[in-house]
């Protein structure tokens, strides 16, 4: 602990005066004063405005973290679902890291359209672990829970997930299904994120493990909060938050549910950072 140091001319007094200037600057709309208070880009977290950083968009574009240490090679479109006001597009970014290793980054982009076929808002989903080797929490991107109207099969799948009903989950999948969580694990206890599971047997093993965890037997109960849903008929896109109530933690993500000709789920492709 340091002692009180707000004597005239002290660092403490200067810091206090800067705090007053900050509030006065906000109250009077004085950009120059506020910028002058910071040693770099002004960075303010405000209850109404949220976290704002001066030049934050420029920093995002000019130093996008996934290619900070990598050379871009190519971009592949893996799938898309589009309606009048929304699109969900699945992409794979191929790059070469500075150490020569290959980077394949699965990205889901959800875009809201305005008139003229241009975007109004874009949400990107990818697993940061693929870039920096660290597990992250993605806090809520969308706050409001929605009452979604799903295709009946996807509705049954969601209901079964909520009820921890393994039979109900499996009844939603077709004969030769795929579940891709875009993580690295086949065994969830390794905490590397759900990988790719092909066929009913592999998917049943996944959900046996996942729903066991979800039941809270290991103290890690979770449920899904639906925050945006749209469909183009064959593919339903669901933006969600995985809620871990005991920890009050969240993992925002998006899922693409693609139906086969039999009307059952052929592929479930999920992009989140849960482990």
């Amino acid at each position: 602990m340091t002692s009180v140091d707000n004597k005239p001319g002290s660092e403490g007094e200067r810091a206090e005066q800067q705090s007053v200037l900050l509030i006065e600057g906000l109250a009077c709309g004085d950009l120059g004063t506020i910028r002058g208070l910071y040693d770099g880009p002004a960075d303010i977290d405000d209850p109404f405005a949220g976290h704002t950083i001066d030049g934050g968009l420029e920093a995002l574009v000019r130093a996008w973290r996934p290619v900070e240490d990598a050379r871009y090679e190519s971009l592949r479109v893996d799938g898309s679902a589009v309606n009048d006001s929304m699109c969900g597009v699945e992409l794979t970014l191929f790059a070469t890291r500075s150490n020569g290793s290959e980077l394949q980054l699965a990205i889901a982009l959800v875009g809201e359209f305005r008139g003229g076929g241009l975007f109004e808002r874009v949400r990107l989903y990818y697993r940061r672990y693929s870039i920096d080797g660290q597990q992250h929490w993605r806090d809520r991107v969308l706050d409001e829970e929605v009452e979604a109207t799903f295709d009946p099969v996807v509705a049954r799948y969601q209901e079964a997930l909520r009820e921890r009903d393994l039979g109900g989950v499996m009844a939603s999948f077709g004969a030769d299904p795929v579940f891709d969580g875009h993580g690295d694990a086949q065994d969830l206890s390794t905490e590397l994120g759900m990988g790719r599971y092909e066929g009913r047997e592999a998917i049943e093993a996944l959900f046996t493990q996942m729903l066991g965890l979800a039941s809270g037997s290991d103290g890690r109960y979770w449920y899904l909060e639906h925050v945006n849903v749209f469909s183009e008929g064959k593919t339903t896109v669901l933006e969600f938050n995985v809620v871990y109530p005991q920890e009050n933690r969240f993992q925002a993500g998006v899922a693409f549910y693609e139906l086969g000709d039999d009307g059952l789920i052929r592929e479930a492709r999920v992009y989140d950072e849960a482990v």
Binding site: L22, E24, G29, D43, D46, V67, G115, L118
Partner: protein, 262 residues
Amino acid sequence: MRSAPELASAVVRGLVDHNLAEVRALFAGPVDIDDPFHGRQVERAFEDLVLHWRPMQAATFESVEVDFSAFASGFVATEMRLHLRRGGKPLQLPVVAVSEIGEEGKFRRTRLYYRRAHIDGRQHHRARMLEAEISFDFHPTLRRYQDALQVRDLEAYLATFAEEGYFDGHGGSQNLYDGLGMGRYEGRHGLRAGLGQMMSIGSKENPGRRLEHVNAFSDGRTTVLEFNILRPQEPHVHAGVACYELDEDGLLLGARVYDEAW
């Protein structure tokens, strides 16, 4: 007109190529991208914050008054009252600015705390701003205070306060059932009534509630604690800050709390 996959690819290519003009051209209005690493970035959001700060909507600025300030360990927390006039009536908004100090004493990052209900009359949740939980070596009185708060031991809690001690939650009522936030409670009698009610309601409605400590510093007299209130029954957190001021006997003279939880 480009298809959605073409537009989506163009956004990612714009990010890969660091081409701001290309990204801008894909949006009908201000660019608005939510990225896992960078968070939500909206073009001109910072300018909008400064030029149209929400507390100033339909209000005129009169003055800022500093109530308390604590500076230590590379942080400053300044408790202020912003005096405004709205609809011809005076409005006082308690505000705390917690800033990380960078080079040459300038700020690096600031977190503002105030109760939005004072401005728009609505109850809000404040999401996490700081992710990592910390462990802080509190003054023994404040350690007892935190422990008593956690287990809802009212007597142990009251024992940490000086006779003339107070708790100020900067809300609008002394009765939590009014739904206007925690007000100011003075002296043992006032503290027993106010904090007793808080603990009683909390025991029934949020038995698993706990505080997640995410930043703390102390200048010896005042300890500043940034926290998140975790209530497992609610799918939200409540970020806030508390300033605990000790008297010369090492007892709590004032617990000044700024959050939006009640």
